[in-house]
């Protein structure tokens, strides 16, 4: 009885796997067709969509923007995350409340946060008002094609910084105390301790953050859709947004799916390479 029944425990996992794999398979199939939402005739056209996508300037442009967006977000998040995690790892009065407050952005739905930021980033919004005390000129946060990408990356950082901080904080708290004590005994200053002990020990957690946040940022849609919709001009038209427009707004489903597959492939390869190069050959996902 005990032996016979054990497959039941695997069943949910299989079902979930099937529910992921089936749509994925259908997506792969349609990416090789001329599927347009409004034309019922679906024909197999081989790699045509993939070739079109790779040859189109739009695809590479959107990819470039997506990579910029991701890199900007990640750089700020990592630096600020390590700093904040360090502060939060100290013990002092009121730390409980501060920790709670720091994590609130994560509890607000990203779309709502983005709408609030859109209002704050308006030319006469709160942000420019505050900056005016520093004598700064009015910044066109979301309405200049030169700055908008940076602004949406900032919103991305604001929303997901708590996540980064959380991982790094739990990393910091799990570190063994011995190396630190030894370093102090040896007379290392705090800068040396940070760069020669904290950072190397924290590496697995930093890599975790890089992996998660790269994948997430590459897939960003909600923040941009609820602020700039890809504009001004097409300065924030990241790949996810381009794919959404192509597939659902312009009805070119087959083509859009081929772009999704290319994006998926890139993210997959990145995570494999990142994982292996950081953790060595023994580790694998």
């Amino acid at each position: 009885m005990y032996r016979k029944g054990k497959w039941i425990f695997v069943l949910p996992a299989f079902m979930i796997l099937a529910m992921i794999l089936y749509p994925f398979g259908v997506g792969v199939y349609y990416s090789f067709t001329n599927y347009r939402l409004i034309f019922p005739v679906i024909r197999f056209i081989g790699f045509r969509n993939y070739i079109d996508a790779i040859l189109s300037q739009d695809f590479w442009y959107s990819l470039k923007i997506t990579v910029f967006f991701t890199a900007m977000s990640l750089a700020i998040e990592l630096m600020a995350g390590i700093g904040i995690a360090h502060l939060l790892s100290r013990k002092f009065k009121g730390i409980g409340i501060i920790r709670l407050l720091v994590f609130t952005p994560m509890m607000i739905p990203p779309v709502i946060s983005s709408m609030i930021w859109k209002t704050m980033m308006a030319p006469d919004g709160v942000l420019n008002y505050l900056l005016s005390f520093l004598g700064a000129p009015k910044i066109q946060w979301l309405s200049s094609s030169d700055i908008a990408l940076f602004s949406v990356a900032l919103i991305n950082v604001w929303i997901y910084l708590p996540f980064t901080t959380l991982i790094l904080l739990s990393g910091l708290e799990s570190l063994p105390q011995e190396p630190f004590e030894a370093a102090k005994v040896d007379g290392a200053n705090s800068m040396q301790i940070f760069s020669y002990i904290t950072l190397p020990l924290l590496k697995p957690f930093i890599i975790l953050v890089i992996l998660f946040r790269t994948i997430d940022s590459m897939k960003t849609f909600d923040i941009i859709f609820s602020t700039t919709k890809g504009g001004p001009i097409d300065s924030t038209r990241v790949l996810q947004l381009a794919i959404y427009e192509e597939g659902l707004k312009w009805n070119n489903m087959g083509y859009a799916l081929s772009e999704i597959m290319l994006l998926w492939l890139m993210i997959y390869l990145f995570s494999q390479v990142a994982f292996k190069s950081f953790f060595g050959k023994g580790a694998s996902s």
Partner: protein
């Protein structure tokens, strides 16, 4: 002669008999599913749906979605061929795609059928321009207002000029009658009304097709420009197109809010109501918000005028009209038609208009004393006068029928952004956009 009279009497008798006995309960027991957009029309109709079920015995289940989600959900469902929704809200450019794909049912035969349509439905009561907007013969590049009727309109919006009468009067500024004057008046306001702390103009500008559809398309058409020639070559870069686009973007850049490229229709409405803007050429029914002291700081201070005229003295306002279509895959077409018929009846459209679903598409609703009473004081009486002329004369759906309107207009608004940011002149930006739009048409096989 006598025989003729006799037959005439019989026919008359039969006619009155059908009149008296139109059977609303013919399809009792059936269930239909309706997909609604979140919109004042929907809010007005939903409370009465139980009345429809009582009257007809047809049960209605429905789903209401916000507009951004609505089209995606609808298109995916229609393309799957499931027929999940028997009736859904739609509009002219969307109908072109749906009709082309064969997803929606032509409604002419239903309207004409005396068995399926109550004699007091009175189709002639609809303003012709708005039923024409929902008619198309499925020929790319033309045939608008011809062929089958694909949907029945439930509301329409036209573009008119709303301006701050208090400020205009205070500084002796004249209401603009042409687009050149519009630019000049904006400049005048910027200079004379400096102490009011206002931006002289506001228009839609977000990267969104609705930014093309209302004020801009009205100006574009009024100036005599067209989106395509008869061979489906994109002509947005014609001399008229370039000229009006230059006036439009330049005026907004100099005299509008600095974040124009983020202004959606909703922002525009809220912001004009906030009292920080001088004038706007946009949706007429926003007056409902402007004139409501609870929502607006400018209630009682706004007057309305016809949108500026073109070089030939004509006005060609573009419209948007929400309408109801029937799914070609519906398994309860007659019941679905009963629902469409009931919703678009004089009675229901009147109720929805009184709730705030403006402008009416039926003449009888527009002229109903209650609607007159609700609207006649807006803008000191100017609103009603202007909108009556718009409904009867100047408003129509202008774009050339084709299936790639969303892709095309997205590219178009990008061009306007380029001009706004000074990255290209109007001519350069529109030339480039026209070339890209030609490519979009080629790719879709429409050229």
């Amino acid at each position: 002669m006598r025989k003729g009279l006799f037959i005439f009497m019989i026919v008359l008798l039969l006619a009155t008999m059908t009149f008296a006995t139109f059977n609303w309960r013919k399809f009792a027991g059936q269930t239909i599913t309706v997909l609604f957009v979140k919109h004042p029309f929907t809010e007005a109709i939903l409370p009465y749906i139980s009345e429809f079920t009582q009257k007809t015995g047809i049960s209605v289940s429905f789903l209401v979605l916000p507009e951004t989600e609505y089209w995606d959900k609808l298109n995916i469902d229609l393309s799957s061929g499931q027929g999940s929704y028997d009736v859904f809200m739609t509009g002219p450019s969307i109908e072109w795609q749906h009709a082309y794909a064969g997803w929606i049912e032509p409604l002419d035969s239903y309207v004409k059928s005396s068995e399926l349509t109550s004699p007091d439905y009175d189709f002639e009561d609809f303003y012709p321009a708005f039923t024409a907007a929902n008619r198309w013969n499925k020929k790319i590049g033309g045939g608008l207002g011809e062929g089958h009727l694909w949907a029945i309109p439930v509301m329409v919006e036209t573009s008119i000029l709303a301006y701050r009468k208090d400020i205009f009067d205070k500084y002796g500024v004249k209401v603009p009658e042409t687009y050149e004057e519009w630019r000049k008046v904006a400049a005048e306001l910027a200079e004379k009304a400096k102490s009011e702390n206002i931006y002289p103009v506001i228009q839609r500008g977000a990267r969104d097709i609705t930014s093309i559809q209302a004020g801009y398309y009205t100006a574009f058409s009024t100036y005599g420009a067209k989106d395509f020639d008869e061979n489906m070559n994109c002509t947005i870069n014609s001399p008229q197109g370039v000229k009006i686009t230059e006036i439009w973007v330049d005026t907004i850049k100099k005299y509008g809010p600095p974040d124009w490229t983020n202004v959606t229709w909703f922002d525009l409405m809220e912001r004009f109501a906030s009292g920080r803007y001088g004038m706007v050429v946009d949706c007429d029914f926003f007056a409902g918000t402007y004139e409501n002291p609870k929502k607006s700081k400018v209630a009682g201070k706004v007057a309305y005028a016809l949108p500026p005229k073109g070089p030939d003295g004509a006005i060609r306002s573009n419209i948007w009209t929400w309408a109801l279509s029937m799914n070609a895959r519906s398994k309860h077409k007659e019941a679905a038609w009963y629902f469409i018929q009931w919703v678009t009846s004089k009675e229901m459209l009147l109720r929805s208009a009184l709730y705030g679903n403006l402008d009416p598409v039926r003449k009888s609703v527009w002229e109903n004393p209650k609607v007159v009473e609700m609207t006649e004081k807006w803008g000191g009486g100017t609103w009603r006068k202007v909108v009556t002329q718009m409904l009867e004369k100047y408003a129509a759906w202008r774009p050339t029928p084709q299936t790639e309107l969303i892709a095309m207009w997205t590219r178009w608004i990008e061009a306007l952004h380029e001009i706004y940011e000074g990255k290209a002149t109007a001519k350069e930006a529109l030339d480039k956009a026209a070339k890209d739009i030609d490519k979009i048409m080629e790719r879709a096989g429409l050229k």
